[in-house]
C-alpha cells in the first residue's frame, strides 16, 4: 500500500525514539549503499525495535538494508531499493558467556575484536579471522560467511554458529538452532543464515561455539620457487599427521605487502598446541619442506598482524576464489597471470587457505573493466571443478559489469528462489543484492 514518507518517518520515530532515527541529509548520504541513498537510517537499541522497523517496512512496501560495521557493503549486487538502512551496531551486548561450556551468546552488533578481548580472560577464542575482523560485527561476519586463515583448522561460522535469533521479513522474531554445542532438534536453521546476506532474516543474536586458545603457537614461512612447488608442499602437508591451524598461501606481492621476506610464493603454516608438540611438528614441517623443494624458516611472531595488508586492494577490487585443494596452486598462478595481462603493474596480491581451496585475490587500483574480464577468465578456469569467483569488494561499475556472485546452477537456484519467495515474498530484505538478484 502507498504510504506517505512523512507518516512512515513518524512511525519509525515512534518505534526507535528520537536518538534511533536519522533522516537528515548527512546521515542518509553517509549510509548510502552503492550510491543508493536511503530515506531513513534506523539504529535500533533493542531487537524488538529492529523487529518493529522491519514489520513497518514490510507493510509499507519498503526495502531494508541491514548493516553492521559497514565494511562489507560492497559484497553483492547494488541494491534494488534501500529505503531504510538498518544499522545494527547498537545491538552490542554480550548476552551470556559460559566459559565452562565453551559457548557465548551475543547481539549481532558486537564486534569480533570486542568479543575477543572478553574471551581472552579465559584463554578462549572465536576462531574467525578474515582481514579486518576486529572491527567487524559478528552479525556481519555471519551474514557474509567471512573467513580467514584459521578456517584451515576450525572451519567457518557454518561450523561455529549454534543458534540464531533473527527478524523475518515481516518482522516476526524467530529462533533457530540451540544454545548447546550439540543439537539436532529440528532443521539446522543457523546453516541457512550463514552467508545469506540477511536476505532471509536480519540476524539479531548469535550463539557461538568457542575454542580454547592453544597453549603455544608458532608460524613457519615455507618459501617455494613457484606455485607448483608450493602445491607439492601443501599436498605433502595435508597428507601428513601434522595438524596445522593455518596453511596460508601468499604470493610475492602479498609477502611484500606484509613486509615478509621475499620469494615467488610462500606458505605460512601455524601450529598451535602444547609447546612440546609445536616443537615436534615444526621439525616435521621443516623436513617436509626440504623434501618438496621448498625452504622453511620461523616467521616473525607478529606475522599475522600484517595479514590484512596482504588482502587490501585500495582503489581496486577483491575477489574470493573457491576451488579444489589440489588446484589452489594453479588458481594462484592463473590469477597472477591474468592480472599481469589485464592490469600490468598493479601487483595482484593473492592469499588463501590452501587446506580448503579458497583464495583471496586483491587487485589494488584495477580498473572496473579489466577486473570484470579477469573475473570471467578466472571463472572459466575454476568452473569445471565446481569452483566459483565472488567479487568481495569493488566499485559498483565492476559489479554491474559482471554478476558479483557468478552463475548458480539451475537446480539449486530454483530452490534458493523458492526459499526467498517463501520467507520474503515482498522482497523487503536486501532486495536485489544476493545471488540471482534475490
Amino acid at each position: 500500500m502507498a504510504v506517505a514518507g512523512r507518516s512512515v518517518g513518524g512511525a519509525l520515530a515512534a518505534i526507535l525514539g528520537r536518538e534511533g532515527l536519522r533522516e537528515d541529509d548527512a546521515a542518509r548520504a553517509a549510509a548510502a549503499v552503492d550510491g543508493v541513498v536511503p530515506r531513513w537510517v534506523a539504529r535500533p537499541a533493542t531487537l524488538e525495535q529492529a523487529s518493529g522497523v522491519v514489520a513497518l517496512a514490510h507493510d509499507a512496501g519498503l526495502g531494508v538494508v541491514p548493516r553492521g560495521s559497514g565494511s562489507a557493503l560492497e559484497l553483492g549486487r547494488p541494491p534494488a531499493r534501500a529505503d531504510v538502512v538498518l544499522d545494527l551496531g547498537g545491538l552490542d551486548q554480550v548476552l551470556e558467556w559460559s566459559p565452562d561450556d565453551l559457548t557465548v551468546s551475543v547481539q549481532a552488533g558486537v564486534t569480533a575484536g570486542a568479543l575477543a578481548a572478553r574471551l581472552a580472560a579465559h584463554r578462549q577464542l572465536l576462531p574467525v579471522d578474515p582481514p579486518g575482523a576486529a572491527t567487524r560485527t559478528l552479525g556481519g561476519l555471519a551474514a557474509t560467511a567471512a573467513s580467514g586463515p584459521l578456517r584451515a583448522r576450525y572451519g567457518t561460522l557454518r561450523d561455529l554458529l549454534l543458534g540464531v535469533r533473527f527478524v523475518q521479513a515481516d518482522g516476526v522474531i524467530t529462533w533457530g538452532g540451540s544454545k548447546v554445542v550439540k543439537s539436532v532438534s529440528g532443521y539446522d536453521v543457523p546453516k541457512l543464515m550463514v552467508g545469506a546476506l540477511g536476505t532471509l532474516g536480519v540476524l539479531g543474536e548469535l550463539t557461538l561455539r568457542l575454542h580454547p586458545m592453544p597453549e603455544s603457537e608458532r608460524t613457519w614461512l615455507v618459501r617455494a620457487h613457484d606455485a607448483a612447488a608450493a602445491q607439492a608442499f601443501v599436498d605433502g602437508l595435508l597428507d601428513s599427521a601434522i595438524q596445522p591451524s593455518r596453511v596460508e598461501l601468499l604470493n610475492a606481492a602479498a609477502l611484500e605487502a606484509c613486509a615478509l621476506p621475499g620469494g615467488a610464493v610462500a606458505v605460512a603454516v601455524s601450529i598451535g598446541t602444547v609447546a612440546a608438540a609445536v616443537q615436534a611438528q615444526g621439525e616435521a614441517l621443516v623436513a617436509l619442506a626440504r623434501r618438496t623443494a621448498a625452504e622453511a624458516a620461523a616467521a616473525p611472531p607478529d606475522v599475522w598482524a600484517g595479514y590484512a595488508r596482504a588482502c587490501a586492494a585500495p582503489g581496486g577490487a577483491r575477489l574470493r576464489v573457491a576451488t579444489l585443494v589440489s588446484e589452489v596452486g594453479a588458481a594462484l598462478r592463473a590469477a597472477e597471470a591474468a592480472a599481469a595481462d589485464l592490469a600490468p603493474g598493479i601487483g595482484a596480491r593473492v592469499t588463501g587457505c590452501a587446506a580448503v581451496g579458497t583464495l583471496r585475490v586483491a587487485l589494488p587500483g584495477i580498473a572496473p573493466g579489466a577486473a570484470a574480464t579477469l573475473v570471467e577468465r578466472l571463472r572459466g578456469l575454476v568452473a569445471p571443478a565446481g569452483g566459483s569467483v565472488v567479487v568481495e569488494a569493488g566499485p559498483r561499475a565492476l559489479r554491474e559489469a559482471v554478476d558479483p556472485w557468478g552463475p548458480v546452477p539451475p537446480g539449486p537456484l530454483a530452490l534458493m528462489q523458492a526459499l526467498k519467495d517463501t520467507f520474503d515474498p515482498a522482497r523487503v530484505l536486501n532486495p536485489g543484492r544476493f545471488v540471482g538478484g534475490l
Binding site: G10, V172, V180, S183, V184, G186, D239, Q243, A280, F423
Partner: protein, 481 residues
C-alpha cells in the same frame, strides 16, 4: 491402504521385480526402526539401484499421492524409518557403492546405502577415515547418518555429520533431482547442503553424498578414570575442558551402567565405582602424550579412585567395547528401556544427574546412564519391564519429566539421534510458535505436497498448520497509514 495393481506394476518396472517387497510378511520387517515402540508398515517397499530409479519412484508417488518414507539400515532410534501413514518405503540398501575416493582433496562420494564403517575401511590403509562414528557405525548407512545428522562419541572434537558433508544429490519431494554443494567447500548462495543434512527425509531422498575424509591422527591414547561420585567425575570433565583440552571423546558411565557392563561383557571397569570417565585423546604424538598426562592429573586432583591409561590397542578396544555395547548390556538389568538423547550445557551435568536420580526415585524406575559428557549429551536408559502393569507408564512419565528438566537448564531435546516420530511432540518445549512455523514453511520449499516422510520431525501443532501466522510486533497505531 491397499495400493492399486498399476502402482505395484509400475514400481516393479522401475526397480525390477526383485526390488519390490509387497507381501505382508516382507513388509512387516520394515514396520519399525530400532525404536520399536512405533510401528507402521509401508504398503510396499521399493529397493532402487540408482538415482534415476529413485527419481522415477518419487514421480510415481507424486502422481498417486502416496507418502514416501526413506530407509537406510533401520538402526535409527527415533521412529524415523517407519511408515505411520503407509505409502511407499524406499530402502537404500542396494545403493551402497563408493562412487569416488579423491584423496588429494580428502573427500569421497558414496551412495546412501553404504555402511558407515565400510568407507573408513576403504581408505584407512592410506591413512584416512570418515569421522562421524555413531555406535551403530558397523551397520548404519551413511544416508541414514546424513538424514539424522548423526553424532557419535568422537563428535566432541570432530563435529557431527553435517560438519563432514560437502555435497548431496537429492531427489526433492517435488520430484527434482538436484546436486547441492560438492567437492569445493564454498559456493555462492544459500547453504542448501547444510540445511538438507538432518532433514530426516522430509525434504527428499538423498541419492549421493560427498563427504570429507580426515587424515588419521598420529597417536591415540585412552584414559580411564573412576570416581566415587558423579559430581567428582563432572568436575574432572570441566577441569579438562578448562585446561584447554578438547579430547576426541569424553564419555561417562554411572554405577548402574558399570555394573551391567561388567556383569555382561567384562570390560575391566573397576567395580564399586560410582562413575567412570573414558577420555580419548588423539592427534600428534607429543600433543597426545602431554594432554593425556594432564587429563590424568586433573582426574587425580578431582579425587579419582583409579586412573589408567590403556597400554595397547587391545586394551583400548576393550575399554571402548564396554562403552559401545552399553545399550545392549542393560538387557541384564531389565527387558526393555526408553532411551533419552537430551543435551544440557556441560556445566549443568552435576545438576542434571542429581535430577535424574530424583526423577528415577519419584517414579520408581531405575535409570542407567551412559553419555557423551564432553558435550553434555545425556543418554539415560530408563529401565522397565513391560510385563509388569504400570511400569511402562512410569517410565514414560520419568522420560517426559527428564526432558523438561533438560530444557529448563537450557538444553535441547535431541543431541544426535534426531526427532522422528518420537520427539516431534516435544519440539514445542524448545521452540516458540514462530520458530516452528519457520521450519514448517522451510519444509514446504523442498516438499511442497508434504509427501516426504509425513509425521516426522515436526509436531502436529498449531504453529505447524496451514494458515498459521505467528504474532507480529505491534506497530504504532494509526500513525502511518
Amino acid at each position: 491402504m491397499a495400493l492399486s495393481s498399476s502402482v505395484l506394476a509400475t514400481l516393479a518396472e522401475i526397480v525390477g521385480p526383485d526390488g519390490v517387497v509387497s507381501s505382508p510378511e516382507g513388509r512387516l520387517v520394515y514396520e519399525c526402526d530400532m525404536h520399536t515402540f512405533y510401528k507402521g508398515a509401508p504398503d510396499v517397499v521399493a529397493l532402487p539401484r540408482s538415482a534415476a530409479e529413485v527419481e522415477a519412484i518419487v514421480r510415481l508417488c507424486r502422481r498417486a499421492r502416496l507418502p514416501i518414507v526413506p530407509r537406510g539400515s533401520g538402526t535409527g532410534l527415533i521412529g524415523g524409518a517407519m511408515a505411520p501413514s503407509g505409502g511407499v518405503m524406499v530402502g537404500m540398501n542396494r545403493m551402497d557403492r563408493i562412487l569416488e575416493v579423491d584423496l588429494p582433496n580428502r573427500c569421497a562420494t558414496v551412495e546412501p546405502g553404504l555402511i558407515n564403517l565400510w568407507l573408513t575401511r576403504a581408505v584407512q590403509d592410506r591413512g584416512y577415515f570418515f569421522a562421524p562414528d555413531p555406535s551403530s557405525q558397523m551397520v548404519s548407512s551413511i544416508g541414514g547418518n546424513v538424514s539424522t545428522n548423526a553424532g557419535g562419541p568422537h563428535c566432541l572434537k570432530y563435529g557431527i555429520t553435517v560438519n563432514h558433508v560437502l555435497g548431496l544429490e537429492v531427489v526433492t519431494g517435488a520430484g527434482d533431482r538436484v546436486q547441492l554443494g560438492g567437492r569445493v567447500v564454498d559456493r555462492p548462495g544459500y547453504d542448501l547442503t547444510g540445511i538438507a543434512v538432518g532433514a530426516e527425509g522430509t525434504f527428499g531422498l538423498v541419492t549421493a553424498i560427498t563427504v570429507r575424509l580426515l587424515h588419521a591422527a598420529e597417536a591415540v591414547k585412552t584414559v580411564l578414570a573412576s570416581f566415587s561420585s558423579i559430581e567428582h567425575a563432572s568436575e574432572a570433565v570441566s577441569g579438562i575442558i578448562a585446561a584447554g583440552i578438547i579430547p576426541a571423546a569424553l564419555e561417562m558411565l554411572d554405577a548402574l551402567m558399570i555394573r551391567a557392563i561388567e556383569e555382561g561383557i567384562g570390560a575391566g571397569y573397576p567395580k564399586g565405582a560410582a562413575a567412570v570417565l573414558l577420555i580419548e585423546l588423539d592427534g600428534p604424538a607429543a600433543e597426545v602424550e602431554a594432554q593425556a598426562e594432564r587429563a590424568a592429573a586433573i582426574c587425580r586432583e578431582r579425587g579419582a579412585l583409579d586412573v589408567r591409561v590403556a597400554r595397547d590397542d587391545a586394551e583400548r578396544a576393550l575399554l571402548w567395547k564396554g562403552r559401545k555395547e552399553a545399550a545392549g548390556a542393560v538387557g541384564r538389568l531389565a527387558p526393555t528401556y526408553l532411551l533419552q538423547d537430551a543435551v544440557v550445557p556441560r556445566s549443568k551435568l552435576p545438576a542434571i544427574m542429581r535430577e535424574v536420580l530424583a526423577i528415577g526415585e519419584r517414579h520408581g524406575v531405575q535409570i542407567a546412564n551412559v553419555f557423551h559428557a564432553g558435550d553434555g549429551n545425556l543418554h539415560p536408559l530408563i529401565l522397565y519391564d513391560d510385563r509388569r502393569p504400570g511400569e511402562l507408564e512410569r517410565a514414560k512419565a520419568a522420560n517426559e519429566e527428564l526432558l523438561h528438566a533438560c530444557i529448563a537448564m537450557g538444553g535441547t531435546v535431541t543431541g544426535e539421534h534426531g526427532v522422528g516420530l518420537d520427539k516431534a511432540k516435544n519440539l514445542p518445549l524448545q521452540y516458540a510458535d514462530a520458530d516452528l512455523n519457520f521450519m514448517y514453511r522451510l519444509r514446504g520449499v523442498f516438499d511442497p505436497d508434504r509427501l516426504m516422510n509425513p509425521g516426522k520431525l515436526l509436531p502436529a501443532h498449531p504453529a505447524c498448520g496451514e494458515g498459521f501466522r505467528p504474532a507480529r510486533p505491534r506497530l504504532p497505531a494509526g500513525a502511518w497509514i
